[in-house]
């Protein structure tokens, strides 16, 4: 299987959030090739088949994983644990992008290796700004 290079992998069960986030990043030229995975199960399967079980160079790793926490089947925290404990994936920066502002979730995320925790704003304008900030910090070249 040929691995296509993705600079951003978005793990998000809400397709609208995903679409609007990607739009914002693309509008600001912050992302060229983005993959959207719709839940934890899909994410784990993708990483297993495309990274963990394949002997490819690190170059093919994405610049950023933007991970939602509350998802059906396998939730974001489990995905985080899986990726951050596996040798081949643990170096990929993972930013948690969740609507939860519960202390428990934030603490769990950082304890399990999250590189950042950003609350998903309710209001679209803020959402837009936050996404742009994330893109500028983690995806911007140079």
């Amino acid at each position: 299987m040929n691995l296509i290079f993705y600079d951003l992998i978005l793990i998000e069960d809400n397709p609208d959030d995903a679409k609007l986030a990607v739009r914002e990043l693309q509008k600001n030229n912050l992302v060229s090739n983005c993959l959207h995975l719709k839940d934890g199960e899909e994410a784990i399967r993708f990483f297993k088949t495309n990274i963990m079980d394949v002997s490819e160079s690190e170059k093919q790793l994405p610049k950023l994983i933007l991970l939602d926490l509350k998802m059906p089947k396998i939730d974001g925290l489990e995905v985080l644990k899986e990726l951050k404990t596996h040798e081949k994936t643990r170096k990929i920066p993972i930013v948690i992008f969740s609507s939860s502002n519960e202390a428990k979730d934030i603490k769990n995320a950082y304890e399990n290796g999250a590189d950042s925790y950003i609350m998903k704003p309710v209001e679209f304008n803020e959402f837009k700004n936050v996404i742009k900030e994330i893109g500028l910090k983690w995806l911007h070249n140079g």
Partner: protein, 555 residues
């Protein structure tokens, strides 16, 4: 021939003989020598001897010399030589009426001729009469006095009589009333639903009112002089009655006892009864029996049973409903949270796509299309605000409050500083002495309270030239009451109940922006602290919001 001539013709001896037998006392003395010359028979008999020749004072008075009362001198002096007098002779203890006369004795001497009539009896009668008279007089006096007394007594009696007559009339009326009352009473007794009775000391009926027939089926005559135990048969009720009787008859106990028991009907079934009993005592304080009343409480018992069942049913329903309500409440809380939470993402999507449309396709839309798009965005934003407020409120429901000592001064200070930054173009007059006492509360929640109150105050006074906001406190019932006062538009007090209701607004949103959730959040927080919040205002004259949280040490 007259009497004088006749006497003159009698000789001296003849005269002496006549005188001797004369029925009165006659004697003759010589007034010079006091020698007795003659004593007639009557006088001799009286004195006991013929004292002729003896001195008169010696013979008749047992004196040694002439009597001090001797009448000789008076006799000589009187013109006709006659002297009449009364004399009491001490020796004889007799009274005499005496007539003395000087006459010429045959030998030529002038002698004293004395005739005495014994008037002792007459004197005695006279004296008696006098005594009687005196007695009578005294009696008369007494009588008169008595009469006076009687007269006044009579008046008194008259008065008393009148009073008595009046009393009598009253008594008559009273008796009539008593009779009437007695008849009425008897009628009441006979017709009362409750049965009234009296038992003697042996607990035999000595009186029982006719209503017993309605209760126990017995005629009065069937019960009179029969023992109580003929009508209370079942052991448990006998025991109960004995217990009650002991209580009643013990003077140390309460004088009256009310208890529920059962008596046996003539046809054998048990009749639930309520009995009021009281001991009867004679005037000397001796226990003579028991009296009281008996009421058939069959109906009441049935109703009580029904009520009890009904109550139990009600209680069960209430319990069920409460649990249902609690579940509903929990559900509702969850629902509010879930709905508001789940609405967030779609709302964000709507506004996101609308914004995307506006950015990327606004040229494709005509003017109306762009107006509609703008409306979608505005409404989405408004809905987002609503959802946010709802979320805050629903989080408050589940949030546990963590109390600690909170210094309101620093909180207000920080918030004032923040607002001053936000409203730096606007000059606000802050009146705040920073002298607020500490309270015991959840700091984060209290910050929301003060923040919302300041927010409100600033919002509604924003149209003033110089908004003036005062923060202070006073003590009421040992608890501090804090207040935030503004000089804004205020509100009509008739809407004060709507102030704290969720999404209620007293002003147009176009005038003052906001969701109308701020004060409901404030109230919820104050309620969670078991405190109180209220407001005072007049339209156009600013508003004061007061809040109180029970004192520090009351935990």
């Amino acid at each position: 021939m007259n009497m004088s001539n006749y006497i003159l013709n009698l000789n001296f001896e003849q005269i002496k003989a006549i005188l001797y037998n004369f029925p009165e006392i006659v004697y003759i003395t010589d007034p010079d020598t006091y020698e007795i010359i003659f004593m007639n028979k009557n006088f001799v008999d009286l004195v006991g001897e013929d004292a002729t020749g003896k001195k008169c004072y010696k013979a008749f008075q047992a004196l040694e010399e002439p009597c001090s009362f001797c009448t000789n001198e008076a006799l000589f002096k009187s013109s006709d030589n006659i002297y009449k007098w009364e004399h009491h002779n001490k020796l004889l203890d007799k009274h005499f009426f005496i007539t003395d006369q000087l006459i010429k004795w045959p030998d030529g001497r002038k002698v004293r001729f004395e005739i005495a009539t014994d008037i002792t009896e007459k004197k005695k009668q006279e004296l008696d009469l006098l005594n009687k008279n005196n007695e009578y007089y005294a009696l008369n006096e007494e009588y008169l006095a008595l009469n006076e007394e009687l007269k006044s007594n009579n008046e008194e009696l008259f008065k008393i009589n009148r009073q008595l007559e009046f009393k009598n009339k009253e008594l008559d009326e009273t008796f009539a009333l008593i009779k009437l009352t007695k008849e009425k009473f008897q009628e009441i007794l006979d017709n009362s639903i409750d049965c009234l009775w009296q038992l003697d000391r042996r607990l035999h009926f000595i009186y029982i009112s006719p209503s017993i027939q309605n209760i126990l089926g017995y005629h009065v005559d069937e019960m009179l002089s029969k023992p109580l135990w003929k009508f209370v048969i079942r052991a448990e009720f006998i025991k109960m009655a004995r217990q009650a009787l002991r209580t009643i008859m013990n003077p140390k106990q309460y004088p009256k006892t009310i208890f529920e028991s059962s008596m046996t009907h003539k046809d054998g079934h048990e009749v639930p009864v309520e009995i009021v009993g009281k001991a009867m005592y004679s005037k000397t304080g001796k226990l003579v029996g028991v009296q009281g009343s008996t009421r058939d409480i069959t109906e009441r018992k049935i109703i009580e049973e029904k009520l009890k069942a009904h109550n139990e049913e009600l209680e069960r329903i209430v319990k069920e409903r409460t649990i249902e309500l609690q579940n509903k409440n929990e559900e509702l809380k969850d629902f509010t949270y879930t709905v508001s939470h789940d609405l967030k993402a779609p709302l964000r999507a709507i506004s996101g796509y609308a914004a995307a449309l506006q950015e990327d396709y606004s040229e494709t839309f005509d003017e109306t299309g762009n107006v509609y798009l703008k409306a979608i965005l505005q409404n989405t934003n408004k809905t987002q605000d609503l959802v946010n407020e709802l979320l805050k409120l629903s989080r408050l429901n589940t949030k546990e409050i963590k109390k600690q000592e909170v210094d309101l001064n620093t909180i207000f200070e920080e918030q004032i500083a923040n607002y001053s930054k936000i409203y730096k173009d606007k000059k606000v007059q802050w009146n705040f002495n920073k002298n607020l006492p500490p309270i015991y509360a959840d700091r984060t929640l209290i910050e929301q309270v003060t923040g919302n109150l300041l927010d409100n105050a600033l919002k509604y006074s924003s149209k003033q030239m110089v908004p003036e906001i005062t923060i202070g406190w006073y003590e009421k019932n040992k608890d501090p009451v804090f207040f935030v006062k503004d000089n804004g538009v205020g509100f009509n007090m008739k809407y004060k109940d709507k102030l704290f209701a969720l999404f209620e607004r007293l002003h147009q949103q176009s005038e003052f922006p906001g969701m109308g959730a701020g004060l409901s959040i404030v109230k919820k927080i104050i309620d969670k602290h078991l405190g109180n919040i209220w407001a005072e205002s007049k339209e156009g004259e600013g508003a004061v919001f007061y809040f109180m949280i029970p004192n520090l040490n009351s935990n």
